[in-house]
Symmetry: C2
Subunit: 168 residues, 2 copies
């Protein structure tokens, strides 16, 4: 049960600083998040917790995600779809995404030269960056091989495990 205790301790500290409380729901959510090693959606989280018989409400999931983002333990990322995805932050930290528009595969990468160049651009524009978000959409190697796209997808599909809606 002491898995992910480092993350929980960090979150606890953050909450205390803000005069907020570490509740069982919040703790369970952090555990769940840190056991997912991929991008996830809020509803996916809710679903998984239901599966594990952990009781938590939609509202609490969203509220806690917001706190986790503020605390820096979780990052909100755009993956080309029209709603948010999240990922937990653990040591290694920042990266950007290559997203295959055919199969939905997400490839992470980090490139120091790219980062440096961005900083230069900001400096020149007198802009103080705090965060950035880069997605490159296109075809992954596998999809390119299996024929020049069969039917021109105009929208990214099937990212993550899909929505699995189960409102209540």
């Amino acid at each position: 049960m002491s898995k992910h205790s480092a993350a929980i301790a960090r979150f606890s500290d953050f909450l205390q600083q803000q005069g907020l409380k570490l509740t069982t729901e919040r703790e369970a959510l952090v555990r769940e998040i840190f056991s997912i090693h991929y991008h996830f959606e809020a509803d996916e989280l809710l679903f998984k917790m239901k599966q594990n018989n952990v009781k938590i409400s939609r509202a609490t999931v969203y509220r806690t995600l917001e706190l986790l983002v503020k605390s820096g333990l979780v990052r909100r990322v755009h993956l080309g779809e029209d709603h948010y995805h999240y990922e937990h932050v653990s040591g290694n930290s920042h990266h950007d995404h290559l997203i295959c528009t055919t199969c939905g595969t997400v490839i992470e990468f980090h490139d120091e030269e790219l980062e440096r160049r961005q900083r230069e651009i900001c400096e020149r524009k007198k802009f103080t960056p705090t965060f950035h978000n880069l997605q490159i959409l296109g075809l992954c190697d596998a999809c390119r091989r299996k024929g020049e796209q069969p039917d021109a997808p105009d929208r990214v599909k099937m990212i993550g495990q899909g929505a699995m809606n189960l409102r209540k």
Copy 2:
């Protein structure tokens, strides 16, 4: 009335190629879009057309925007909010965005070195890019000057003219 006729001609060609029709609604929408020289939202478009006494439905606006994106005349951009923004494409073409998280100002920029480096990264990952989207969030010069952020905004606010909801 022949303003923006180049764009309309291009769209007409695209439609014809696809066996689709150029209707009065679609033409009016293209006119409206090409008279906005900034990022806009779908609802904003609907609102402006109502103001100008052009009758068009929400469904048609969305349907036409999709076609315009496919035709390459309009681009869908993420501006850090939870819904889409659009911008028309006109000659000069591709650029990325610096977005001030305090006042919502959007600064456009284009940097060839950044583009080149991205192409290199894709090559190394055997990824065939078709499009990318880079937003750098932070503080613009003006906001940085007027004090180190008064109350830590955790979310981008007030981008564009705001939503001005008027469903019907």
